[in-house]
Symmetry: C2
Subunit: 510 residues, 2 copies
């Protein structure tokens, strides 16, 4: 597929405004990647929203199995562009080819998972109360309810997941599965991947006879385009993965609209790992190895990377982690902006009066957007005193909090902001301690892990990828797994509606 | 039970500040009702919040059947105060004794419904993915997830439902059932009923050995107390029924907190009723009779009262409704404030240049807070041109919108704000028209009714009482029926957590 760098506005390509070009850039070399991409004009955004609104009643009324065909077609279209996508992603993100391959597989698997979900209709949770016309003192009407889609959804691509949480990623797949048109705001750091996948989705929509407007993809003019999307009256919900500042800005726009809409923003998490004394003593080195791997996986650019490690102050594990950090080679970050933000975050810790620098990894000045691994330490008293020590540093960096007595943990857990995950490393002798902490752990995070690392988000029914603010904007739900489809739905009840006029799944025959 | 007019702060009674007294008032006579009630001090609000936060981990970890006993005890305590409650409610609200009896029954039934829901654990929607340690390339961890409670909930009593949506009403019952402590903000118009029911809840909590702080009830100092509650960091969700202005104010406070929280506000709805030509011709008089009943039920003080009626411009039904309106006796409204707001709303329609006054009912100057039924008419062009004609007038008033051609309906449905309900009156000959409108109807409201009236909200599984903004703040959910328990919950996942440390419902034995 030849890249043009232009938006998809329904089934046509945007002309855009030549005044506002942008381009992907290889974070390993700094090389600009052709073609430039061109921001959608306000008129094109308007047109995408108007088409999405028109497509909605048609698309939302289709039988689930027809939308399932569309989702499966997206997956196979992506697969048919596999080599191009993998190559472009590797260039645009500096991630290894294996990662592109893996993430592509995950993306297609997610699309097919939602296709399976909507192939049959149990997901709509139909509830049927039949009439009791003779009930005294009042007759009972026939009442039937189900989940129905919200309306057009704006999806913001994630910088760190060019495939699985971007154009055809989890938010898009779940929103489309439920029956919502989607308008994607491309991420400026991987416009080529966005265009390839956008072409796969638009092509699938056309080939499957979907109403025009069911999918659009816009390149943005800075933040203005995305904000215009969130403000647009036709948009009924927002999916976002990114910084806390960006997410909070969208939440505020959404909340101050004449008609407020829900925002599902995944923002920031330091994914605390609590190492209890028994575990530190029994298998400190193994834990250090696993943690080191999790901290540095993908240059630490995962929302579930462990950034805060609570460890017994005297444990050998701290030295073991320090040793590994020193030996860590420099990594390529996703883009220049992220590399700068990482360097600033590391500097903030390095210069903090209550923080000790334990180690820094190798440098490599030949990399355009480099990250040097870093490991810091502080005390629980310092952590309790200064919220800035809780802030996420996105990249291969962790802060160890030394604790002396177990009762410090309760105070720390009370002080921590909401998280995607919280992990406990516990030996047999620690289980009583864990028991005492369990309710606090469950209140803190969307996922509580024992004896593991937080990285690795399995796509399955039991998964919850979410968590209290500021980990996400709405900690009630999950953005991974089949249940995430319900985020883009609302409950609708039909009272005494004649059978022929009901949605098929609520009819008598079902 | 002797009334004291003081808050319940856990298991003690508030002292309050004598500087800020308030009192119930009989809306029929204007008589002030003893005793005065005394606003909680900021320290008492703080204490209630602190106790709720402490009670939360204990209360949320109790087996469902223990919380079920608590809910059932609340119901039986309310029943043992039946005569006092009914008499006080009749005095404080001007509602007939039969209404008090009915609403009390509904309140106790709701409490018992939620007790039944949590007696067994299927409501938590446990999802269990067992480990596959040998899976290639990576082992799959054990993942188990379920709905867990959010934390302390602030519930605002509804002016128009002193029992079923107040101290021990739907929001409180569902929040407690899920495992959340509740702090109720009493409604200034029925403080005595609040105190009687508050005593029933506090007594049940103590008798059932619930942790102190699981329930508090505060009398407010104007809006300040409620706003302080919503701002308090221990509060994790809000339930509110009332005006759009009040609900939106709470939404804004909740959204601008350092940690935003969800608000479930039920605010305003005109519950449009569309009368199609066939139905108007076949049974116009029967429809007029049913609508007249629904408009005037409880002096029109139901959130589901039909306030906007779309009728063929030439239908005899309009005259039939007009005739009935003229014959309607004056009604007692809930309180002076509501009567004033109603009079202002009626005046707004009466003086609108595009509105014709069809009829007003009888006056009765002997009533302290009176309502005179009123019926107005306008054109679809006028409705489309002026959003003020869509605004709810809370009370026994309706605006008829005359339409000439069916295609005006689509334009009107596109223009209307979100609603709790939308109703279509259709004869056999109209069903094709209804079919064409079905998707628009479902997008507009939480409940779509054919050939009925919107009043009457059945408490059952199939019910959805909710709807797009501004009908509610969060149109994704229902506030009536067993599913409403999920509004006060979030999904939590447990990964590789040893069986003994899991919540009981996720353990292997289940």
């Amino acid at each position: 597929m030849k890249l043009e760098g232009r938006s998809f506005i329904g089934y046509t390509r945007g002309k855009g405004s030549d005044a506002i070009p942008g381009a992907g850039r290889n974070p390993r070399t700094g090389e600009f990647l052709e073609p430039s991409c061109i921001a959608a004009t306000p008129e094109e955004v308007e047109s995408a929203c108007a088409m999405a609104a028109s497509a909605f009643p048609v698309f939302s009324s289709l039988p689930g199995r027809e939308r399932a065909l569309f989702l499966r077609r997206i997956a196979s279209n992506i697969e048919s562009l596999a080599d191009e996508i993998d190559a472009r992603m590797t260039m645009e993100t500096g991630l290894p080819a294996g990662r592109a391959q893996g993430e592509r597989g995950r993306t297609c698997a997610q699309l097919r998972m939602f296709a399976d979900v909507i192939d049959e209709s149990s997901w709509v949770d139909a509830r049927i109360d039949t009439a009791q016309p003779d009930r005294k003192p009042l007759p009972k009407p026939d009442l039937r309810s189900m989940w129905r889609p919200l309306g057009p959804v704006a999806v913001f691509c994630a910088g760190n997941f060019p495939l699985a949480f971007s154009v055809a990623g989890g938010d898009t797949a779940s929103a489309l599965a439920a029956g919502n048109p989607v308008i994607v705001n491309a991420h400026i750091a991987h416009p080529g991947v966005a265009e390839l996948v956008g072409g796969a989705v638009a092509g699938a929509a056309r080939d499957c006879g979907m109403p025009e407007g069911v999918f659009s993809l816009v390149y943005g003019n800075g933040f203005a385009t995305g904000q215009a999307l969130v403000r647009h009256p036709s948009i009924r919900a927002v999916g976002f993965t990114g910084s806390q500042r960006g997410g909070r800005a969208l939440m505020e726009i959404a909340a101050s609209r004449p008609v407020p809409i829900p925002v599902y923003a995944e923002m920031s998490s330091v994914n605390p790992v609590i190492i209890l004394p028994g575990a530190a003593g029994e298998r400190g080195d193994a834990i250090a190895e696993a943690l080191h791997g999790a901290i540095n996986l993908g240059a630490g650019q995962f929302c579930t990377a462990p950034g805060l490690i609570l460890a017994p102050g005297d444990s050998a594990l701290i030295a073991a982690l320090t040793r590994r950090c020193v030996e860590t080679p420099a990594a390529v970050m996703l883009n220049e902006g992220i590399a700068r933000a990482y360097a600033a975050g590391v500097e903030r810790l390095r210069t903090h009066p209550e923080v000790q620098t334990l180690a820094e990894g190798a440098e490599d000045t030949s990399i355009f957007a480099p990250a040097r691994a870093a490991l810091f330490a502080t005390t629980s008293a310092a952590l309790l005193a200064d919220p800035v020590l809780q802030a996420e540093v996105f990249g291969p960096c962790a802060l160890i909090v030394r604790y002396d007595a177990l009762d410090e943990l309760t105070a720390i857990l009370t002080t921590l902001a909401g998280q995607l995950t919280v992990t406990v490393q516990a030996a047999e002798a620690d289980l009583g301690t864990v028991q005492g902490l369990m309710e606090q752990l469950a209140q803190l995070a969307g996922r509580v892990i024992v004896n593991g690392v937080p990285t690795g988000v399995e796509v399955c029914d039991g998964m919850v990828h979410g968590g209290p603010f500021p980990a996400t904007s709405d900690g009630r739900t999950t953005s991974v797994g089949p249940r995430s489809i319900l985020r883009f739905c609302r409950e609708v009840c039909y009272q005494n509606v004649p059978d022929a006029l009901l949605p098929a799944v609520l009819r008598q025959e079902n």
